[in-house]
């Protein structure tokens, strides 16, 4: 009697398990031990985000029996190495990180997302899980080629220790007639920055004048804020649509910001900006940040302003706000011999569980539900700011010849904002030389 009850229980248990698996429509998860040992090579950019991911890799390897060799390089070197190491027929890497501007450059070498393997351990990434403004960065010509992996776009940082200082608050109010705070408009940014700069408290602004891609971001930020686009895809081709007057106004305003920026602003790149904002009490009052770098600014061992930064969307220009996107997509080269393992790795990385852990490490995944999770809003104050920035996101132009265009913009933008050339002449030179590049490229 007892024996038959046990038998009945076992049968019912098996039936329920089978039905549950059937209802889910998925295979029972394979155990790592049952999976073959595989190794994949991954090329990523070097910042706190991939570094935080590296700490979690043992978990992935334990679940999949896949060993991941991650190589991290500075962004320009990622581009160089990808160009050398990935071809139509061979590749040194099974997964590559690609800056959004370069997705068109490598599009022909990447495996379309639709052709990626279905995950064995982790389900295939749902494109809808990605923040909508970020989704397009992984696509080219309407084909999704990579999974956008970080929610990187302009977020504004302002030093709370300065704007909450009672003395500065009263002095500023007495002079300008309104309250000191996070600058909401360009006018406020200039006036508050000038106030701090003139009084020797801190430089008013931290520009970015480093690499060509970053300089183009600043130019697009200004131009969009003044109501003009740079290049548009219209009528099946790329055209320069820059409104000269608005572009000049944007450049002139940036020129004013340069006068309240730290010495050496003409060549300020991320290293100098971070040193000025986070390590120098007289450094910088307010500037943009790529959220991917926030972890370094909020690390008390590296930053004097950790926990003392007010985050917001960028201040508005005369025609509104603009937050330039600078996200990365991760993709699988067509030539990879480990496409299945590579896809598994990307599915794991883009999963909700990992996104939640990455947020805890002060980094910015691209998943909407993680970025907008109210549970993180108080402990991660940049997330609500990021959500606000997403509403006014603006992208840099993307096409194969963007490298040449970036150099043209950088050359004349720097000359314009430093006074080495009249701003109108600089804008005209940008338009002329960009048109030459587009024409030569057959657009």
């Amino acid at each position: 009697m007892m024996k038959s009850k046990v038998m009945l229980f076992v049968i019912v248990l098996l039936a329920v398990s089978a039905m549950a698996a059937f209802a889910n429509g998925e295979k029972a998860p394979a155990t790592a031990a049952a999976m073959p040992q595989r190794t994949i090579n991954v090329l990523l950019w070097d910042d706190p985000y991939p570094k935080a991911l590296m700490a979690m890799l043992p978990e992935f390897t334990a679940a999949t029996n896949i060993t991941v060799n991650i190589e991290m390089l500075q962004p320009p070197q990622v581009l160089t190495k990808t160009a050398i190491s990935v071809t139509n027929t061979t590749t040194d890497y099974d997964v590559v990180g690609i800056d959004e501007g370069n997705v068109p450059v490598f599009a022909s070498l990447l495996l379309p997302f639709d052709s990626w393997y279905k995950g064995t351990v982790y389900p295939k990434t749902d494109p809808k899980s990605v923040t909508p403004k970020m989704y397009s960065i992984g696509t080219w010509n309407g084909v999704q080629l990579g999974v956008p992996i970080n929610g990187n776009l302009y977020v504004w940082m302002t030093r709370k220790d300065l704007i909450e200082n009672p003395t500065y608050m009263s002095q500023f109010k007495a002079k300008y007639g309104y309250a000191l705070g996070v600058p909401k408009t360009f006018k406020e940014l200039l006036e508050m920055g000038t106030f701090f700069n003139e009084n020797g408290i801190a430089a008013g602004f931290g520009p970015f004048n480093g690499g060509p891609a970053g300089v183009l971001s600043e130019a697009v930020f200004m131009w969009e804020s003044y109501g003009t686009k740079f290049i548009d895809f219209t009528g099946g081709t790329f055209k320069v649509v820059l409104d000269e007057d608005k572009a000049v106004e944007g450049m002139e305003f940036y020129k004013k910001l340069m006068t309240i920026s730290p010495k050496g602003a003409e060549t300020m790149a991320h290293v100098e900006r971070q040193a000025a904002f986070a390590a120098d009490p007289k450094g910088v009052f307010s500037m943009f940040i790529w959220p991917a770098q926030i972890a370094a600014y909020e690390d008390p061992t590296k930053s004097l302003v950790a926990g003392k930064i007010a985050y917001s969307a960028p201040p508005a220009g005369p025609r509104g706000q603009a937050a330039v996107t600078g996200a990365w997509a991760i993709a699988i080269p067509k030539a990879s011999k480990n496409q299945e393992a590579a896809a598994e790795f990307i599915y794991w990385w883009s999963s909700k569980a990992i996104a939640d852990k990455l947020v805890q490490a002060n980094t910015i995944p691209a998943r909407t539900e993680t970025l907008t999770n109210p549970a993180y809003a108080s402990s991660k104050p940049w997330l609500p700011a990021l959500a606000d920035s997403m509403k006014v996101a603006a992208s840099r132009p993307r096409f194969k010849e963007i490298g040449q265009v970036q150099d043209v913009v950088k050359k004349y933008w720097i000359m314009g904002i430093t006074g080495a050339m009249p701003t109108r002449d600089a804008v005209r030179a940008i338009v002329k030389e960009t048109n030459d590049i587009l024409q030569k490229a057959g657009y």
Binding site: P76, L79, T80, A83, I84, V86, T87, N88, T89, T90, V105, F106, S108, L109, N209, G210, G211, P212, P262, K263, G264, A265, E266, T267, E272, A275, A276, D280, G283, K400, E401, G403, Q404, Q406, D407, K410, K411, Y412, I414, M415, T418, A420
Partner: protein, 299 residues
């Protein structure tokens, strides 16, 4: 397999060496030249290339940034290397004697040569940082205004030259010191006894005898300076604007910024031609045996 003199032919013995020379020296040059005749976008993978003849060379000649980079590169060579030679020679003359601590000083002078170029570039970048850089702090202490060294086109160009002089003059010193040590003291002492003062000894004895060493140093430095890249890349990335985009940086940008391998190869071939012109001018016209014998005869 018998040679003219009844000996075995030398070809089998030379063949391995010739093969190695071809593989490591000749083939890359031929390959670069062939690539320079193609439109080969690096980003399109290995397969997508199109023969375009001399179009890359024609485009280069029309490209004002190409000429700008060449001008900057040649300016760099003609400013930095003479100064390195003067400094190296002066130090070699000064230290070519025995004195207390001489060996230590000579060893210390050589230290910058052992700096990795990329480390040297980064060190100078931080040293020249206007706000927290060592140089400006020193100048500020003396009452000078803050200077944005790498933000001004002229200062930035001067900075990369000074960095190179700092790092490489000890190399010239090393060569010239070795050359000086090889000059017989008997000649110099005899000249001194004959009443020749220092400048007479320098221009009539030391420099003529050092001539081959100076030429060697010059040639090595020119070849090295034509290839300068990493220190400038980390110091300025070619900026501000294009103010320090030397030839090598522009070649790199063509290859990995614009993905134009054909164009970058055309620039590499151009650089090779320049190098050959320098080498032929220096070696063939000044270091031929006849010339050296002539100079020996003069002495």
């Amino acid at each position: 397999m018998k040679g003219a003199g009844g000996h075995g032919s030398p070809v089998p013995f030379l063949l391995p060496a010739l093969l190695i020379v071809f593989a490591v020296l000749i083939f890359p040059i031929i390959f670069s030249f062939v690539v320079s005749l193609f439109d080969w976008p690096l980003s399109a993978g290995g397969g997508s290339r199109r023969f375009i003849g001399a179009s890359n060379y024609v485009d280069l000649v029309k490209d004002k940034e190409f000429w700008n980079s060449l001008k900057l590169q040649l300016g760099f060579i003609f400013i930095a290397i003479p100064l390195e030679l003067v400094l190296g020679l002066a130090a070699a003359l000064l230290l070519n004697r025995e004195f207390q601590g001489g060996r230590v000083i000579r060893a210390l002078i050589l230290l910058p040569v052992f700096f990795l170029p990329v480390v040297s570039g980064m060190t100078w970048r931080f040293m020249l940082q206007p706000r927290y850089g060592a140089l400006n702090n020193f100048l500020l202490a003396l009452g000078a205004p803050e200077i944005t060294w790498l933000g001004d086109p002229t200062f930035a160009y001067a900075a990369i030259i000074i960095q190179d002089i700092w790092r490489m003059w000890p190399f010239v010193f090393m060569l010239l010191y070795a050359g000086l040590a090889g000059i017989s003291t008997d000649i110099l002492e005899a000249a001194e006894i004959d009443g020749a003062h220092f400048s007479k000894r320098l221009f009539s004895i030391i420099l003529p005898l050092l001539y081959p060493t100076i030429l060697t140093a010059l040639l090595l430095r020119i070849i090295d300076a034509l290839r300068i890249f990493s220190e400038v890349y980390v110091m300025t990335e070619g900026g501000p604007g294009m103010a320090t985009t030397l030839f090598s940086l522009y070649t790199h940008r063509q290859a990995f910024g614009y993905m134009k391998v054909g164009m970058a190869s055309a620039m590499a071939i151009f650089l090779l031609v320049i190098s050959i012109v320098f080498a032929v001018t220096l070696v063939r016209k000044n270091m031929s045996l006849e010339k050296l014998e002539e100079r020996g005869g003069d002495r």
